[in-house]
Every structure is written in C-alpha cells, then in structure tokens.
C-alpha cells in the first residue's frame, strides 16, 4: 500500500505533503515514500520545521491519492462543513 509523508508547517500550521524534494500544500503533488518514509522522517525531524510528521496509508485512484482514513481526507481537503475553504486535493464529497 502506498504511504505518504505529511505534517504541519511550524510557522502557520498548514497541512503539508512531501512532494519528493520539498513540501506542498496539495495532496495531488504528494509523492509516495513507501519504505523510505522512516528514513525521511529521521532526516527531517531534527530540522524542527515541520510538526507532527507522520506516514499515512493511501490508495492510488484514477483521480489521485485517496487517504484511507477520514481524518486524513479531512486534513487534505479542509473542514467538510466549510467547502468555501476546500483545497483542490479531493472533492469535498470525497471525505
């Protein structure tokens, strides 16, 4: 199962997705880290710039990554009750 690395930016709290060489606000930019995830966390953690680093399970779908847990789908899109704030990572109704 593909795994993505995610966390929250220190300065703003923004949800971020690891996009291969840098972070992105958008799930659609994320790159699967799979077995390299733990090593990536070990490298990034000491930099102390991204909080709550965690690997999450996703499914690859024709429309892009779909996090398996509701929690991570909500993180990727924004509050399901405020579609006006939704990020274009997933349709709100995909939550």
């Amino acid at each position: 199962m593909p795994r993505l690395l995610t966390g929250n930016r220190l300065e703003t709290g923004d949800v971020l997705w690891w996009a291969g060489s840098d972070w992105s606000l958008h799930l659609r930019d994320a790159v699967a880290v799979d077995d390299d995830g733990e090593a990536l966390i070990a490298r990034l953690l000491p930099q102390e710039r991204i909080n709550d680093l965690v690997l999450i399970d996703v499914d690859a779908t024709p429309d892009g990554w779909r996090p398996r847990s509701t929690r991570e789908r909500v993180r990727a899109v924004g509050p399901s009750v405020r579609p006006d704030f939704a990020l274009p990572s997933l349709p709100v109704d995909a939550i």
Binding site: N8, L10, G13, E48, S80
Partner: protein, 543 residues
C-alpha cells in the same frame, strides 16, 4: 463588568511579552518543538488538523461591546472571518498562525483578555450562569465569586500542574443553567433562614470518558471562607489524584474511589490547616469586586406590554426571551444555531452587530452560554422589536432556544485532532430535519460529540450522540435521557451505533415514538423517557 486592576493588567502584559520571546526563539530554532509545545499550550494555542487553534478565555462567559469588537477584529485580522463559541463559554479561532500570535495576544491584552489556562492540567476558565444578575429566579449574582476564583486560580503556582484539567462552575440560582453537577467543583449560592448567602459545594462531577454526577460535600459554606475551602479541595486532589493514569486522573475518580464522605472528611481536615493561613480576602475585597458587577440602572417604569402583532416577532419573544428580574425588561438569547449552519460559529460582522446591540440596548453586556449561544441580559421589552429587526437582517433571529435545532456540537473531526468522527454535519442534518416540527416537540436538547472526551456534552443531552471510530469508519452511538440541569442525569447508550445517515434516521424514529408516547403535548421528551424507560425507544430504533 469587572475591570482589570494594575495587577491583572501587569500579569497579562508580562505573559504577552514572555510568549513573544518564546515564539521568536522557537521560530529561530533556538528551542525545540518538544520544549515549546507545553509553552504554547499554556497560552491556549493548540495544533489542530488544519492549522493552529487559539482558545480565548471568556471568564464566566461575560464580555462587553469593546471586547466583542476585539473578538471580531481578531476573526477578521488573524483568522478567516469567524470564530467558534464553545461549551466552556470561550471562543476558539481555527486558522491561527504561530508567527502572528504575539501581536494577537497583545491585541487581546489591550481589552483585558487573554488565552492562558484554556489548556493544560490547571484550573480552566470559571463558568457561570449566562443569566447572572438578570434572572428573576436568582438568589445572588454568582459572577463576583467566579471572578475571585479567577484571580485566585490565575497562575496559581501550586495548582498549575494538577493531575488533570480542572473545571469549576458557579451559579446563583436553583435553576441550574451552568451544569454544576457536571463539573469538578460546582458551587451554588444558597440562602439560609436568616437571609445570609452561603455556598453549597459539589465535587466530582464531569463528562468525558467516565461521566459522573457531582456529590454535595458541604450544604453550607460561608462565603467569607470559600476561597480557603477551594484551596483545601484542590490540595487533597493534587496530593491523591491519579497521576499514573491519564484516564483516571480527574477528581471524579478520586472522589468515587474514596467515597464522597471520606473525600469530604479529608477536605475538612485540610481546611483546618489552610484556613488560618489568611487566604480568604476581607469582606471589603469581595465587595470591591461585586461593585464591578452592579447591573445597569434599570427603568422601573419601563413598559411591560409590547406590540406582538408581528407573528414572527411574537414567536421569537416567546422562545428566545426569558423573564428579567425587572418587569419591563427581558433577557434575550441570540441563537447561533440557524438550521444548517455550524453551531456556535459567528462571523466577524455578526460579532460587531451584537456588540452594537449590546451597547445600545443591553447595558453593554454580552454573555456566552455553554450551549454555544449569546445572551443580551438587560433589554427593555419596549426595545425588543427594534433589536429583533436588526437580528433578522444579520441572520441571528432564529427562534429555537432549547428546541430540537438548538444543538450543541463540538468541532469534531472537521477540526479537532482528538476527534474520531465529525459532529458538525450530524448537528446540521438533524437541525434541518427537525426544525419544521420543533415547536410541537417543545424542549429537546440534542448534544453531539466527536469523541469520548465529550466536549459536545453528549452525556447531558436529552438525546446525545457520540462519534466513534469503527474500523476506520465514522460511527455514531445514540444515547438517551441525559440532563445537565438541576435534574441532572447521565444519558445511556440505547444500542449499536449507526453511520452518518443512520444516526439521523434513528433520532427521527426516537422522536416519532416520543410523539406517540407522551402523556400530553406538554410532556417533554426527557420526562417521557424517564416515565417509560428505554425499551419503547429501542424497539422503535432497532425493531
């Protein structure tokens, strides 16, 4: 309204400066996140699912128009134009940036507000009756006592690292609008035959993972001595509370384990040691504080009768106003629960409008209720129509106080890292479905939590809903029969849980069954449930 003295202001200003320094050091990586996290939490700043969340303290739920305008300014300047009023009479902002926190807290301090002790294992914001000093059923204004507790508990060195968080509520009425039986300490002002005011003391109530009702450990406590008695309670808890297990660390577990009588005995024993230390202030100090809470000068000749020929206005007056102690006045509740909207959310523009209304019509006071609504406590009945018209234009005139669409909901999984399931969408769907029949249903309190911590007070709901995680999917348990009022009871789970749509249907089935079971149209759902028990409702829901 209490106004800060030089000590209050100095404490808040010093904390702003201290946190500014801490934030700067964190942003420069001079301190680690591990070291910084408890510092930001001590200033009410959480990291939630999408951003930082700031919880601002509103002592006993009271603000004036100047403070409400500042809350609107913060929503506009630092957030996305809205705030969320909470079940602890506070306000939360969901889209905070760490780098902007020092300036925000300085803005708050400029109107005598702050965000500390809204997180952590300390004494949290003291809550109280939103109708204080206005209700006809009140014995005495509880807010001076709550304010003294605020001063005593602010940065109290001995009680800043308790076994667990600690919540105190104070009421001055036998009609319990502050849920005192569901607090770590509940205080009720009572009057003896000689007309003296004292306090009834309850300890060990709470919701969350292990809900319990508080026990009375003292029927009468002289008000002159109550601070030292609080100190004694906290000392016994601080000494014996279960620090080894976070799930057993609240005082309710200690009281339950010891038994209320033994806990009370230990408090009395401790009090003998504490009382001579001189902690209790002289009566003049309580009188000084109480003077800040003098109600506005009320017009004894204000007319009682008003034109209610507009049926929408008449309905709003019936549902959302409450008798004031002065006959020509009313207590107005502004519902933040328009069906389909997010319970407790208010836009910056709405906050400004409410501030204007408070200044113009309500003695410059606004109260936040634990049911996530706002109250204007002193409104001339003759001004109600003008006020209502402004509320209508602002989308704030929903007439549903204590009815089926006046639903308490925590932020749930839409915002909160602790949540297992979304709670707001459930509240929205139920409100839309039930609003058309709520006038027929009468008082019906529905409360939704997105996790076992119970910020949505589901155990105190006539109908409670608890969101849980079931194999990665949101699932909702249905509870019936709770109350947070003077007839407090804990709601009980009816049976197996439901998915998002199933829980809405289940609630509808419960209500349909209630309509066939009620003894007469005036019998509340809660009273019907207490009379007939759970079985008829189980049958209706599960067949």
């Amino acid at each position: 309204m209490y106004r800060y003295d030089e000590y209050d202001q100095a404490i808040v200003d010093a904390r702003v400066a201290e946190f500014r320094d801490q934030v700067e050091r964190r942003l420069k990586n001079e301190i680690s996140e591990e070291a910084f996290k408890p510092l930001r939490l001590m200033n009410g700043l959480y990291l939630q699912l999408h951003a930082y969340m700031l919880r601002v303290a509103i002592p006993y739920g009271t603000v004036d128009s100047r403070q409400m305008r500042m809350l609107a300014h913060i929503a506009r300047r630092y957030d996305r134009g809205y705030g969320h009023f909470t079940t602890r009479q506070n306000i939360q902002y969901n889209w905070m940036k760490l780098e902007e926190m020092p300036d925000l807290l300085a803005d708050l301090a400029s109107v005598e507000m702050h965000a500390f002790q809204t997180s952590g294992n300390c004494i949290r914001n003291i809550s109280s009756d939103q109708f204080a000093a206005a209700a006809a059923d009140e014995i005495a204004d509880p807010r001076p006592y709550a304010e003294l507790l605020r001063q005593w508990s602010t940065l109290h060195p001995e009680f800043s690292f308790l076994p667990r968080k600690f919540k105190i509520a104070v009421t001055g009425s036998t009609i319990d609008r502050a849920a005192i039986k569901l607090h770590d300490i509940g205080l009720e002002l009572v009057q003896n035959d000689a007309g003296e005011i004292g306090l009834k003391v309850l300890v060990g109530g709470g919701m969350g993972r292990t809900p319990m009702l508080g026990h009375v450990i003292r029927e009468w406590l002289p008000v002159a001595d109550y601070l030292s008695y609080m100190e004694a309670i906290l000392r016994v808890y601080n000494r014996h509370g279960r620090r080894d297990n976070i799930y057993k660390a609240r005082i309710k577990i200690l009281v339950n384990d010891l038994g209320a009588a033994e806990f009370a005995r230990q408090v009395e024993e401790e009090w003998v040691l504490v009382k001579p230390l001189g902690l209790d202030p002289p009566p003049s100090e309580l009188a000084r504080i109480a003077a800040h809470f003098a109600p506005p000068v009320l017009d004894a000749n204000a007319p009682v009768e008003i034109d209610q020929s507009n049926p929408d206005f008449a309905n709003w007056v019936t549902v959302n106003t409450h008798p004031h102690r002065a006959p020509g006045y009313a207590i107005v509740t502004i519902s933040l629960k328009a069906p389909g909207e997010i319970p407790g959310d208010a836009s910056a523009d709405q906050m400004d409008i409410i501030a204007d209304l408070a200044q113009r019509y309500a003695g410059d006071e606004i109260r936040v209720t634990h049911a996530q609504n706002l109250v204007l406590p002193h409104v001339r009945r003759a001004d109600l129509f003008d006020l209502w018209q402004v509320l209508v234009s602002a989308g704030l005139a929903t007439a549903n106080l204590d009815r089926a669409s006046d639903i308490i909901s925590c932020p749930g999984l839409d915002y909160c890292t602790l949540a297992n399931a979304r709670s707001i969408p459930i509240a929205q769907k139920l409100a839309v479905k039930l609003a058309p029949q709520e006038a027929d249903l009468g008082e019906l309190k529905i409360k939704v939590s997105g996790c076992i911590n119970g910020c949505g007070h589901h155990h105190a709901g006539h109908i409670g809903i608890l969101g849980v995680d079931r194999k990665g999917e949101e699932n909702y348990q249905l509870l019936l029969g709770g109350s947070g009022a003077e007839d407090a009871t804990l709601a009980k789970i009816l049976g197996p849980g439901f998915d998002e749509n199933g829980i809405v249907t289940a609630v509808e089935k419960v209500i349909d069954r209630y309509k066939t079971l009620r003894a007469d149209p005036a019998e509340r759902f809660l009273d019907t449930y207490r009379r007939v028990g759970a079985e008829p409702f189980k049958e209706a829901v599960y067949g």
